[in-house]
Symmetry: C2
Subunit: 206 residues, 2 copies
């Protein structure tokens, strides 16, 4: 049997859209989300500008699709393995460690995509900023709910202010990101872990 | 007496260089330090491109002079009032509070100049990045020395790891900056203060 004749069409359009957005999400942590342009991205990936225009009608459309791709990547690399741990302190540690591990693996060359892009577009109202804020709120909400779960399970003092704890845990992760991108040493990641340990106690034994 | 004839020359060149760089430092926290261009800045301040070229021969020269101006501004607004407090815990609190107050006053429209620019140029080796890293190291060094002073004075347990404490205090300030620029609420600044209080104890009464 000749498999060549029976296999599915290659869907070049879809595949290359995915490849374009993957490159774009990584590039955005280096050049900035506003540094993304149809022309610049076309050069970067060796594609014609008109070929890119076939996928994205405007720079904003490219930016929003790039953010969606980065969100998918972050979910696969950080959130999903994190929430595979049982709710409560084990999951807080899993989310934190997966975040630090994604920095160490260099999933994005400029560190955390959302921290990088948020720092860039914080002063520019619009759909790009709204999407970034929405994602960050989702991440903070996940941490907050997990702190509450840990309190309900008696793993963290229920009298503690859960929003405050969430702020401080997230601060350790943000600081690790900022420091690691400037100077990629495992010591920085370890400092974030020690900071989190001070807040919620040691990671459960595996 | 005609004061018009005896007063000093207005030094237009020097004055306008200062005014240009002041505008440039603020603009860099919105457009990015790489978003600064001789042409773009000329438009922003309503000056001719050739007039700006008389001051700065290249984009890099403009960027480096902008960083120096931002450093001067940060020193005047944060470091100098901070180090006016006695060394030790009082100074740690003064530096932290002055940092948070400079966010609240909107000294730079995009929050902390150095956090903003560091997030942008972290992946771009060169003189601009070197200058930013040097400034951040100076700030972290100031906090670290002040933690050591507080330990020597018995205000903080001398057995604590001073580098770790410095990392965690700075994390609270960085998180406050990131959150405040996205959503400027005094609650964010208060969260940073409560995080620092957990680390080093309450601010001394004034």
């Amino acid at each position: 049997m000749n498999t060549q004749t029976t296999r599915k069409p290659r869907s070049d359009g879809l595949r290359s859209r995915h490849a374009i957005l993957d490159a774009s999400a990584r590039l955005a942590t280096v050049e900035g989300i506003n540094g993304l342009s149809i022309g610049g991205l076309a050069d970067h990936i060796g594609m014609s500008k008109s070929g890119l225009y076939a996928h994205f009608k405007s720079k904003e459309e490219l930016q929003l699709a790039t953010i969606d791709t980065a969100a998918d990547l972050f979910n696969v690399e950080v959130v999903e393995p994190g929430v595979a741990a049982p709710p409560g302190r084990a999951r807080l540690w899993a989310l934190s460690n997966e975040f630090l591990a994604h920095l160490e693996r260099g999933v994005f060359p400029g560190g955390c995509f959302f921290a990088s892009v948020a720092a860039e577009i914080d002063t520019r109202p619009g759909r790009v900023r709204d999407r970034i804020v929405e994602f960050i709120e989702g991440w903070v909400g996940e941490l907050f709910q997990t702190v509450k779960d840990a309190q309900a399970a008696g793993e963290i003092d229920p009298a503690d202010d859960a929003e405050q704890l969430t702020f401080e845990i997230d601060a350790m992760l943000l600081m690790a990101n900022a420091a690691y991108v400037l100077s990629p040493s495992p010591e920085v990641l370890e400092r974030a872990r020690r900071g989190i340990e001070r807040l919620i106690g040691p990671a459960p034994a595996r």
